[in-house]
Subunit: 433 residues, 2 copies
C-alpha cells in the first residue's frame, strides 16, 4: 500500500530544518506557565497562566512568519499563505491546556509542532497550493466546566449554547463570565453569539491532522517511530450526585446512616466491574472524580459527587456499559436510601479517520524512512470533532512508558522531531505543491 | 438515688435569671462569624472568623462580670471569684470551632451556656466557696490539623509537641505558624513552650462539667429534658494514603491500572463492613474524608487519601475494628498493586465520668424538676481529656432529630434553658455555698 500511495504523491517537496532543540526549549518555556510547579503542569482554560500561554503561542506563530488570528472562543490560528490563498487550508493543531498535575507534552507537542512544521516549510522555501494553518484549540481538557473540547466543538457547531450556559466551574463561574473576563468573547453579548462567531463553514477546512504523543505504550514497546491513527475511540462521561443524611460520626449509629460517600465508593467499583465485564481490552471506564461532603473525618458524608469516563472503539458496547453504570447508581441509591441525580455530560460517536489523510500521513512516514504502525486513538482529541467537518487524521509519536496526564510524561527530542517532520510532509502533500 | 443525693446537697442555692432569649441571640450572632453562609457554619481554628469569635466570647464574658484570660494555645477562661479564691475552680466549657458546613449549636451551647450560667449565679447574688470558670477550648474539631481537642489535650499534657509539629493543614501550614499568625502563642519560641505554658497543674481544676447538645435522637425520642452523661465513648482515627500509577482515562487499559481511587473506595466499604461486623450498636466507623488525585474525569486516580473514624464504648472492640481496617487496607493495596501508608492520628481511651459530678448533675436536674436519663456520649468532647486531670461530667440537652454537624442542627430555647439551669445549679453544688 505504501508504495502505491507514495507513487500517488510523488510531487512531495523536501522540508528541512525541523529543530527538536527549539521545540524542546519551547516546551520547557511553556511548562513554566503552570499553576503547579513544573514538571507538574496545571493550566486551566481562561485562567492567568492559560492567557499567558496564549500570548506565548501567538508570539511563536509570529516568529515563525505566520499571520495570527484568534476567534471569539479563543481558538488561535497561525496562517501561512498558499499559492492560491482562496482555497480552504490544511490545518494542524492541538491544545495547551493541561489538567491539574499533568505533564508538559500532551497537546503542547501538537501546537508547537504544527508551528515548527510551518516554520520549516516556509524556511525551506516551499509554497503549497493551499494555505496552511497551525491551530491552538481553546481547550481540549474538561477541567474547567466538565466538558472537553470546547474550542473544536464550537468550531464544528456541536456545542449547544444553552447547555454550555448551564455549566459552572468549581467556583460557580459560568462560561460567559469566564471567557469575557479572560478578554475573549469577541465583544459578543451572549454565549450563543460567541459560539456562532467561531463556527467554521462547510468546506472551510480542506484537511485536519493532529500530532500528539501516543499516551499509551504500544509504539515504544514495538520500537516504532510513528503511529498512523485510523480511528478515535468514542468517549462518554457522566456525573452523579448522591444525597444522604449525614451527621456526627460518633452519634449517628450505623443502622440510621444514609452514607453518600459509601454510595459513591460502591458506584466507582461498579464502574470498574462493568468495564471489565465486556471482556474487551478496548473498553475502559474510570472514576476520575470522587468527592464527599462535608469531607470531615468526624462527619458522615451527606453528599457525594462522582464523575465517570467511559470509552470504547465500539459505540454500542460503550453505550451498554454507560447504561449499566447508570442502572448500578440507581440500585446503590435505592439500597443506601440516598437521593441520586445523574447527568450525561457528553456521549460522542467514535471518529474514523479519512482515507486520504491516513494515506498522506503513512506516505510521509514512509518517505522519511520511519517505522510506523496503524493504530486506534484511545484518548480523545479535538480531532474527534474536527472529523465532523473535515477529512481528519492523527500522527502519534512514542511517549516514555506510555505515561500521560502525569508530571513524568515525556517524549524524546528524536521522537518529537520525527513527528514534526512527518507532519510537515503530510501537510505539504495534502496542500499540494 | 436522687432523693439521697438531693439530701446530701441540700444547701444548694437558688439561681435565677437564666435567659434562653439572650442565649439564642448570642448563638445567632456567633453564627454570623462563619466562612459559609449561616445556617451553614464553618469556623476553623486560628482563621479570621475564629479570631472574631474569640473576641466575641471574651466580650460576653466581660459583660457577664467575669475576669477574662487566654492561655498560650488559645483556651479562654472567664472567672467568677469564689469566697476562697485560692481553691481550685469548678470549670465548665466547650468549643466554638465548627467543621465545614455544620451548625450553630455544637460546642457553642456549652461555651455561651457556661457564661450564661455564671452570669445568672452572679446576678442571683450567689457566691460559691470555690471560684467558677467558663471556658472556651481552643478547638475541639479536628478540621485544621486532623487532630481533635488541641486545647484540652494541651491543658492536660496529652499532646506531644513533636507530633503536633509534624501535622499540616490543607495549605501546608504548621501549628506553630498558625497559632502565632493568629496572634496567639504567648510569645513562645516553639510549640513545646506553647504547650507547656497551657498545662494545668495537678489539682488545678476541682471539677469539670460540659453542657452539650446530645447529637443523637434519644432524649427527643424519650421526651426527656436532660441527659446525665456517665461515660464518653472511645474515639480513634486513622488516615490512609494510596499511591497507584495513574494515567490517561482513555489510554491506560484496565489490566494495567493501579487505581488509587478504587483502593480508597474499597477501603471505605471495608470500614463499614468491620463496624457492622461487631453486631454491636455501639460500634461506629466512618470514612469522612475520601480524596482522589489528580481528581480529573479523564485521569485514572494516581493517589488517594482516606480518613477513618472509629468509636465504641468498649475500647477493646474498638481497637479490634481499627486493626481489621488497617489489615483490609494492606490487603487492598496488595491486590491493587498500590503503595499504602497509614497513620494512627489518635486512639484515645474512653472516659468514665466521675461519680460526684454525675451525682451533682443528676441532683440539679431532679431539684429543678427535669425529666432525665443516664446516657453514654457517643460523640467525643474536650471532657474526654479533662477527665484525665479532673473529676468530669457532662449534661446533654435534646437536639432536633438527633441531627448534628449539619446546617439544620437545632436545639429549642426551652431545652437550652433547662440545660443552662441544670449546669448553673450543678456548678454551684460542686463549688459549695
Ligand atoms: Mn489530555
Ligand atoms: Mn491531548
Ligand atoms: Mn462537633
Ligand atoms: Mn462539640
Amino acid at each position: 500500500v505504501a508504495v502505491l500511495l507514495a507513487a500517488a504523491t510523488a510531487a512531495a517537496p523536501t522540508v528541512q530544518g525541523v529543530s527538536a532543540e527549539r521545540l524542546f526549549d519551547q516546551i520547557e518555556a511553556l511548562g513554566e506557565l503552570s499553576d503547579t510547579t513544573p514538571p507538574s503542569i496545571t493550566r486551566v482554560l481562561y485562567t492567568e497562566n492559560d492567557v499567558r500561554a496564549r500570548d506565548y503561542v501567538k508570539g511563536l506563530m509570529r516568529d515563525a512568519g505566520l499571520e495570527v488570528r484568534e476567534d471569539s472562543v479563543g481558538n488561535i490560528f497561525g496562517r501561512l499563505a498558499g499559492e492560491d490563498d482562496s482555497l480552504a487550508p490544511v490545518v494542524s493543531g492541538s491544545h495547551t491546556d493541561a489538567i491539574p498535575h499533568s505533564g508538559k507534552y500532551d497537546g503542547v507537542l501538537g501546537v508547537l509542532g504544527a508551528i515548527e512544521a510551518l516554520r520549516a516549510i516556509r524556511e525551506s522555501g516551499v509554497t503549497t497550493r493551499r494555505p496552511l494553518e497551525a491551530l491552538m484549540f481553546a481547550s481540549e481538557e474538561p477541567t474547567r466546566f466538565g466538558l472537553s473540547c470546547i474550542g473544536s466543538r464550537a468550531m464544528c457547531g456541536r456545542l449547544d449554547p444553552d447547555y454550555l450556559d448551564t455549566l459552572r466551574d468549581e467556583n460557580g463561574t459560568a462560561f460567559y463570565e469566564a471567557v469575557t473576563s479572560a478578554g475573549r468573547g469577541g465583544g459578543h453579548e451572549n454565549t450563543a453569539s460567541i459560539l456562532s462567531a467561531a463556527l467554521i463553514p462547510a468546506g472551510g477546512i480542506h484537511a485536519f491532522v493532529e500530532l500528539h504523543i501516543e499516551q499509551g505504550p504500544l509504539l515504544e514497546q514495538e520500537g516504532l517511530d510513528i503511529g498512523v491513527v485510523t480511528a478515535i475511540a468514542a468517549p462518554a462521561s457522566v456525573s452523579f450526585d448522591f444525597l444522604g443524611n449525614g451527621g456526627h460520626a460518633g452519634a449517628l449509629l450505623m443502622p440510621y446512616r444514609k452514607d453518600a460517600g459509601l454510595a459513591a465508593a460502591e458506584l466507582s467499583l461498579a464502574v470498574e466491574s462493568w468495564a471489565l465485564g465486556t471482556k474487551a481490552i478496548d473498553t475502559v471506564a474510570t472514576t476520575g472524580v470522587l468527592q464527599v461532603y462535608p469531607g470531615a473525618v468526624n462527619s458522615v458524608p451527606r453528599e457525594s459527587h462522582v464523575e465517570v469516563d467511559v470509552r470504547d472503539i465500539e459505540e454500542k458496547r460503550r453505550d451498554h456499559v454507560l447504561d449499566m453504570i447508570i442502572k448500578s447508581a440507581e440500585q446503590i441509591a435505592d439500597k443506601r436510601q440516598c437521593e441520586m441525580k445523574y447527568r450525561i455530560v457528553n456521549k460522542d460517536p467514535p471518529a474514523p479517520c479519512a482515507d486520504d489523510v491516513v494515506a498522506a500521513v503513512q506516505d510521509a512516514a514512509d518517505d522519511l524512512g520511519f517505522k510506523s504502525m496503524r493504530m486506534v486513538s484511545r484518548a480523545y482529541h479535538d480531532a474527534l470533532f474536527m472529523a465532523q467537518i473535515a477529512p481528519t487524521g492523527m500522527i502519534f509519536v512514542p511517549c516514555k512508558g506510555g505515561v500521560s496526564h502525569r508530571p513524568d510524561e515525556f517524549s524524546s527530542k528524536r521522537d518529537m522531531e520525527n513527528g514534526v517532520r512527518t507532519l510537515a510532509l503530510a501537510m505539504a502533500k495534502l496542500a499540494g505543491v
